[in-house]
């Protein structure tokens, strides 16, 4: 895709069977077989606890209609039969993966298999009751939004060669200031703007300490996270306990896109959201085009891959890095605003709960590409909304165990599913002009 990466020699890696797939992700055939075995394991779970252990007369009802969309009949699924049917399909997908000779497209097939499992899990969760599938999807989009912003922020910074671990802190700062300003002025747009400014401020601090003074980017990032947590907690105590009215901001109202929001199931989830969600979608496209289709993007990638070479042809390395780190802060600050004025409203202590790091995992999974992180962000968003759904449905799983799910999925993604990815060449390396 990119001019710069294509000319660099491919890292062969230790694995003999390693091949480079078309999109540049290194996937070994052994890993593909592992995925297949994993899917067959899932199929076993789907047959036994989800299928045979469930009384045969139970059904799960999925509600598929929400106000803006046209009405469609509910989906009634007998739990046992559906689970076993899905299990067979999942096992077949697993076998296909095991017998594959090429690893190309394996992730797509694997994702399909896990979707089958998730469907089966939903049917099991909704056994004997009804489950609002549309609202589950809508919640998924809302929970994914800050993660998308965060991974975009990571892409902007790291494509220029600066590791941004401070996303979590920028989230918190953005969420806090957005809530404060929106509450004080009653203007959500001003709140979002100030949230972005708060993120930019911490981005500037990261840039200043790591670019001007060559401090380690990861250490400074972690310190910013800790500092932002302490600062927002302090201000929460000092300001919001005495003035609770300053922490009850208005939230962005949903805007239904005419026509598109009438599509059943997907319409209400995707096209009846608020401006912050649409903003994430617009930013995805804009940043993708800017990075891969403009002169500016080419320069950013060059600086991130080989700053000395970029400098030789007259590109201002530090200037590009400053710009990108601060822009990354702006984007992360907007992501923070999504926590407060984009959904819940009120700011609470440590409300981002590690999602800034989840966003980093999404960015890595997406190989430092804007759209690459989207899938991972939606997966995390889905797992978070599923957890809250299961809590509402009163399924007999203790809530702390459920709350672990997004974090465990992140670890699994970072450790197992990512495969060998290659970060931008100069990512995290301080640059000194010679």
């Amino acid at each position: 895709m990119s001019v710069v990466t294509a000319t660099l020699p491919a890292d062969p890696g230790p694995d003999e069977q390693e091949i480079r797939s078309r999109t540049g992700r290194f996937v070994s055939l052994r890993r593909v077989r592992g995925m297949g075995i994993f899917l067959i394991g899932l199929a076993v779970i789907m047959v036994l606890p989800f299928g045979l252990k469930v009384p045969s007369n139970l059904s799960a009802i999925f509600t598929l209609s929400e106000p803006p969309s046209i009405t469609v009949p509910n989906l009634v699924q007998p739990v046992r039969a559906t689970s076993i049917g899905l299990a067979i399909a999942c096992a077949i997908v697993g076998v296909i993966l095991i017998t594959r000779k090429s690893s190309r497209g394996s992730y797509l097939i694997f994702s399909f298999g896990t979707l089958l499992f998730l469907w089966s899990f939903l049917v099991w969760v909704g056994r004997g009751t009804s489950l609002n599938f549309v609202s589950l999807l809508a919640e998924t989009v809302i929970y994914s939004t800050p993660i998308i912003y965060g991974s975009l922020s990571g892409v902007l910074c790291e494509r220029s060669g600066v590791i941004n671990i401070a996303i979590e802190g920028q989230f918190l700062a953005g969420a806090f200031l957005a809530s404060l300003v929106a509450s004080a002025t009653g203007d959500v747009w001003l709140g979002a703007l100030c949230g972005a400014a708060a993120g930019a401020l911490f981005g500037a601090l990261l840039a200043f300490l790591s670019l001007r003074y060559g401090a380690d980017q990861i250490i400074v990032g972690v310190l910013i996270d800790a500092f932002a947590l302490g600062l927002t907690n302090f201000l929460l105590q000092e300001i919001f306990t005495d003035h609770p009215n300053l922490n009850s901001p208005p939230v962005f109202t949903d805007i239904a896109i005419p026509g598109l929001s009438k599509i059943p199931v997907l319409g209400p989830a995707l096209f009846d959201q608020n401006a912050i969600v649409y903003g994430a979608a617009i930013l995805l496209v804009v940043i993708h085009l800017a990075l891969f289709r403009t002169r500016w993007g080419l320069r950013v990638r060059a600086v991130g891959e080989h700053p000395t070479a970029a400098s030789t042809v007259g590109i201002h390395v530090l200037q590009i890095r400053y710009t990108n780190v601060i822009l990354g802060g702006v984007v992360a600050g907007l992501g923070g605003a999504a926590f407060t004025i984009g959904s819940y409203g009120q700011f609470t202590s440590n409300m981002t709960a590690g999602l800034g790091f989840v966003a980093l995992a999404a960015m890595i999974f997406g190989r430092w590409r804007p759209f690459g992180g989207l899938g991972a962000a939606l997966l995390f968003g889905f797992s978070i909304s599923l957890v809250s759904f299961i809590g509402v449905l009163g399924v007999n799983i203790p809530s702390p165990l459920l709350a672990m799910a997004p974090y465990l999925i992140t670890i699994a993604v970072v450790a197992g599913l990512v495969g060998r990815v290659r970060p931008p060449g100069a990512d995290g390396v301080p640059y000194k002009r010679e």
Partner: protein, 449 residues
């Protein structure tokens, strides 16, 4: 160029420099000859001049002291700015300049004085104790509390520091601490043994729990390349939820309770007090100091510690020398986790005796900061932990006495660390002379490392 460094007496000043480097990349021979020539021409350099030179150059000790100093100044400014009386006096600086200036200073000095008397020694309490012969407990109580607060910081901080020296960034001390304390708690209330066996078993349990939790990111990093920063932070949340889970029911929850409070440690599983029951300082503190000594020996004298340091300083050199990078990664995480687990155990068996939701507070994060402040050396971590514990313990006294919020101390702590992490900034503020790059900087590795 001096070919025989031993024969040249002048470079003695320079030769001591590498000993002070952060990363232990000493090496006295090459490249030092030039400096030797410079000093050699002037002949004998008087001792005071040499000392003076050391004070104005950016060596780690000077930078550390100046970082703390600058942070205290910054904290002082914050105190003045947020104090209504000082701001009022400053607004009338034209008519009463003396009053404004003296208030500016006394407000800050009162606050820092309260921190000192609340965490180390209160002069009034001492005077009272000397004149009446009573109240000695009150004299030593601040110091005892500081030691209690420093104990988990020392243990967890040393663990993080060992990781830093090896080039891995363990942010998972919080989770490992919780894991260690859960295992220690179980051994502490479910097993009935005499104290001579029970207490050591509790200590071992805490260490084992932490080490096991540390193994997870270690193995994942070694086997799959998963970056430890993400994995350890995710694991912190996993263990936080695990603690909430086990506190919600048998066997850990206190019977007859609906609150999330665990059973209490049996009396045989509790650390004995060092100086009578009124002072809370206990055996945990001694264990923490002993573990710091052990870590110091381990990093400086043992073969494994050496391979840790080499891997941290130069991974390629370590690989060329035949050190297995995956073995080092797994082991260093296990050891780092072991220290964090002991930190959780130390507070549990020393002063807390039960677990509740949110146990450990922010010790996991503070462990990173004391490791940085201590320049990743075990004894440095001990001093850094004592300083941070002083600020924490004394901050409460300051809040009571002067009404300045306790959070000020965390701002001071954070500021210290920002300067420590950015030695170049300190160098520029105080116009310190450079000692050459690399001696001061702390570095982690990027995603691929």
């Amino acid at each position: 160029m001096t070919t025989e460094p031993i024969a040249a007496p002048a470079p003695a000043e320079d030769v001591t420099l590498p000993v002070l480097t952060v990363d232990g990349r000493g090496g006295n021979g090459d490249g030092r000859g030039g400096g030797g020539g410079r000093d050699g021409s002037t002949g004998e350099v008087p001792l005071y001049k040499r000392l003076l030179n050391r004070l104005v150059e950016a060596n780690p000790t000077v930078v550390t002291i100046l970082s703390i100093f600058t942070a205290l100044i910054f904290g002082g400014i914050l105190i003045d700015v947020t104090s209504g009386t000082v701001v009022h006096a400053l607004s009338h600086i034209g008519s009463h300049p003396g009053r404004a200036l003296s208030l500016t200073c006394t407000t800050v000095l009162d606050a820092y004085g309260a921190i000192f008397s609340g965490s180390v020694l209160s002069p009034t309490a001492l005077g009272h104790a000397i004149s009446t012969g009573q109240g000695w407990t009150g004299v030593f109580n601040p110091l005892s509390e500081t030691c209690v607060a420093a104990t988990p910081l020392i243990l967890a901080g040393v663990g993080v520091a060992i990781g830093f020296r090896t080039g891995v960034f363990n942010i998972g001390a919080q989770g490992q601490l919780i894991a260690g304390s859960i295992v220690a708690l179980y051994v502490g209330f479910a097993v009935h043994l005499p104290i001579g066996i029970h207490l050591p078993l509790v200590i071992l349990a805490g260490a084992a729990g932490g080490a096991a939790a540390g193994l997870i990111p270690g193995i994942l990093k070694a086997r799959t390349g998963a970056h430890e920063v993400i994995v350890t932070i995710m694991l912190n949340y996993v263990f936080l939820n695990l603690l909430n889970y086990i506190l919600g029911g048998a066997p850990f929850q206190l019977p007859g309770q609906t609150n999330e409070i665990s059973q209490k440690m049996l009396s045989t599983a509790r650390m004995p007090h060092l100086f009578g029951s009124t002072l809370r300082v206990n055996l945990s503190f001694v264990i923490a100091i002993a573990m710091a000594a052990l870590a110091s020996w381990f990093m400086n004298r043992s073969t494994l510690g050496f391979s840790f340091k080499v891997s941290g300083a130069n991974a390629n050199a370590a690989r060329t020398a035949g050190m297995s990078s995956s073995k080092v990664t797994i082991l260093v995480f296990a050891i780092s986790g072991l220290f964090a687990g002991m930190a959780g155990m130390a507070t549990l068996a020393g002063t807390n005796f039960f677990l509740s939701s949110g146990y450990g507070g922010t010790i996991g994060f503070n462990a990173i900061t004391v490791a940085l402040l201590g320049r990743n050396k075990p004894w440095g971590v001990v001093w850094a932990s004592m300083l941070f514990a002083m600020l924490d313990v004394g901050g409460a006294t300051m809040q009571v006495r002067t009404g300045i919020t306790l959070d000020l101390t965390s701002v001071i702590q954070a500021t210290i660390i920002f300067f420590i992490a950015t030695p170049m900034l300190v160098r520029e503020i105080y116009r310190l002379r450079s000692t050459g790059q690399g001696a001061l900087q702390l570095f982690t590795k990027g995603w691929s490392g």
